[in-house]
Symmetry: D2
Subunit: 286 residues, 4 copies
């Protein structure tokens, strides 16, 4: 039986009348059927953003043919278009240190196809988690990091990332800071999990900070990494309730569930092309 | 300065290829600009549902002219279409008994224009809440109800509803059961708040039931009222945490916040035409 | 029929062996029955804190007689003891500005005896909310505030507070800053609601700050007011989910429910003597 | 360096004046120091319940000596007392079928000492999860179950449980029903996770039931297993938000996090002797 070809199209352009209809028509002319469409208009920047999920019965449709069909609009409406066909999964590298709860979760979700991607390699500044990688049959690279932002180290990392054609890096409780060069090279392609409700408690030891402050909720934030530490576009956040009885070790324990859930959700949305970064905000078409 | 005219269009039809594009084109031809569109396809019933928010700069556009523009599609694609223009607010009747927390909330939200509607009258089987109605300048009708589903009583209620052209009835902790005839007459136009997480604890005294069962969360459910008690399409639900220490009176107290919030959210979605009822489910385009 | 006399006793002292047993024995000797007891030991400060709910069948028991019974322990164990008998409700002043959602909630909760206190007066820097005060039969004092921390204005406020013997001030969206002198005078007796998840977005316009940052949750924090703005001991916090679609006005609307609920909870705990402030943290015996 | 000996004492008895003080005194006389105490009085059954955490510096204290010290009270006050010393961890058996998310979580939590117990064996009606058991060095027993409640099968299970002196059985998504004899034999010692917000959607395929009903939240419930399926005392519950877009497979995926978190929390409370079952309710001293 013949199956369909599917793609996700992400569009950003100056807001103007008629965009939705004209995009829909252009895709209709390629014989594409719009399975889902979601849009958002930023009033402050006067920008239109849309995610369109299209299918074609004709399997000969291609990235190039869709691109060609949209070209007149791209020029006329100043569209910034990103097209990804369903049969080309993201290639992912996971960076870890010693904590394994996020890594475990990502690997199990991928195994169960709740995350559809190819986890091509795991890079760590510690050797500890190599056996988990092995259990899942994923190459593990131990690259010690003496000091954060070290150029030689990052060159070794980048070499591996390029060899594997990586287009998403997940920092799954990776405890080293990446250089501005690194984050810019992979702008919009690095997702970090920070164990606080950002912007509260950025930087080191957020649970210690939360304990000192006496807050009643602790959080986790998944965000794109940028040159400024813990300042990149926020993708997802969640909090859990604590009390004065909870010491830092209790927070660490209770927070784990929250961290891995928030990270997994953010990674999932990225893999499904549900996110457009616009003016340092992550617009998520859930 | 010229302002625009806006409308919400709700569409239900058998799923088929090209609907999105054809609807968008038809609206484009009326000079309508699609401000927002959200869709859902039910695979089990093979049905397409869409909510479209359209604006026109030409203020001469009308319900009739839009209807005309869609007519060819309505026939060809078997569309079920509901169009409402922004300048015709819903006319609402609120039914209450003795508890006032939900009523207070609805009145304050309307005052602050967080609920955009015309609350035309309040009907109660008790005289207690008349002074609140008075404070807000809304007619209050005390219609005693000796037994639920009483025909004479309901005829008096219906007479009032018709006189005021009511198209939404909100049961804000109204403690009488409406007859099947009544609920059918206003099918999809009666929103009830039930103080449990339905389908658990339907019927009377849900907090007593929850206490007897020893649950750790208590809920509230806003749903459309149908002939079967507490069985209509669920619009919104939320729960709050309790413990073994909470007696029924504590649940009553803690539950109030939850009830009013859930009800207000459901009413808001209805007023903004965000809900399509499909096969006893409320599809909410949030 | 004879009813019992009840009291709440709050104890703070250096941690040492046998405190619980010795306090229980001392109270037992006054013929007191311990209805509830909850304790917490701060390891970092080596401090023991306890809340004891006691009842006596003998109605002749008094603050003085209980104090006398505890005196030997107070000296020996260096107890800091606070005793409040159930028949002496807190006297409360509510400070407001223009927003009324928190005030409404407090007044309704008091009416329903969900908050057991005597709301003796309402003070506002705006005249707007006087009619609400009138509906509930509570004196309303309009004291304009030209600039925050103005000494003359605060003297007028303090005069009223003293005349009414106020021992709790609730800042229910009061938009003026109190002076260090004022907050010190009423240390541990002023509860403020701030519409953010502190310490994030302290200071003015927290929803604007939240919108600019692109967070996915917005919060509310009830805390004791101290000389440092938005830095006092946190009593309660809660968050609600938002999305990129929510503009500041949507946050304001959605946040209201959260603010009033968080504030009411904090006030309730204070009125029930469930809170001990210890080292700038609010220990809440829920 | 000398360390202390600790124990948890759970007490149930008819409510009467002076219990707290007399228990505290009796323990004080054993040189025990009360580290924490929490109590609850059920008004409907007139029953007093307390959890007391005691430490002794004298390491010669024993179960027998504490029991002896309490004996006079046990008789006089009709105490039902349960004492467990900290140095005797629970012995746990985990029952599983094919789903592994709960098992993984329990094993990782035990490894990180967030669950303090000895997981002595894993019993499954499927061979699939043996490799996980192996990775953690825990004996795995594949006992096929042709039909639920089969006597021969249960005898094999019981034999293993007795050989290992098991005092807690965790049903971590075990998909077979246990007989009334089995659940009575291990009354109060079997914790099950059901993937719904009980009492809604008891029995098979709860996510299918939830989907058919169109609820807006899905839940998970950890409860003690009794002879009546899904009717035992509820220990913990939690819900997560879904929408009309979520098909049953989405619920399965989203629900996993919730199930494992709820189960782990319930198991933890049981292992820390925080639960007293009273009249088919689980009183949890959090």
């Amino acid at each position: 039986m013949e199956k369909t070809v599917e793609a996700i199209i992400l569009v950003t352009c100056p807001d103007q009348r008629g965009i939705v209809a004209r995009l829909a028509s252009a895709l209709h002319e390629t014989s594409g059927n719009i399975l889902d469409a979601a849009q958002y208009t930023s009033d402050s920047t006067n920008t239109f953003l849309q995610r369109i999920h299209v299918s074609w019965e004709d399997k000969k449709v291609s990235h190039a043919s869709v691109q060609r069909a949209l070209n007149p609009l791209i020029e006329e409406l100043q569209l910034d278009v990103h097209i990804r066909f369903g049969n080309t999964p993201h290639k992912v590298a996971v960076f870890v240190s010693e904590e394994d709860h996020c890594l475990h979760d990502l690997l199990l979700l991928r195994r169960d196809r709740a995350l559809r991607c190819d986890i091509a390699l795991i890079i760590s500044n510690h050797p500890d988690l190599s056996s988990i990688a092995e259990q899942h049959g994923i190459p593990f690279h131990h690259i010690p990091v003496n000091k954060s932002c070290d150029n030689d180290t990052e060159q070794r990392q980048i070499k591996l990332l390029e060899e594997h054609d990586i287009n998403l890096i997940v920092l799954a409780r990776y405890m080293r800071i990446l250089s501005a060069e690194f984050t810019q090279r992979y702008a919009g392609k690095i997702i970090n999990i920070h164990h606080s409700f950002l912007p509260a408690f950025a930087g080191g030891k957020p649970y210690h900070q939360a304990h000192a402050k006496g807050v009643k909720l602790i959080g986790a934030t998944a965000h794109y990494a940028t040159a400024e530490l813990d300042e990149g576009p926020i993708i997802e956040q969640s909090v859990i309730r604590i009390s004065h009885k909870d010491e830092v070790t209790d927070m660490v324990r209770k927070g784990r569930d929250n961290e891995r859930t928030v990270l997994a959700r953010a990674v999932r949305w990225h893999l499904e092309d549900r996110i457009i970064i616009h003016e340092n905000r992550a617009i998520v078409f859930e």
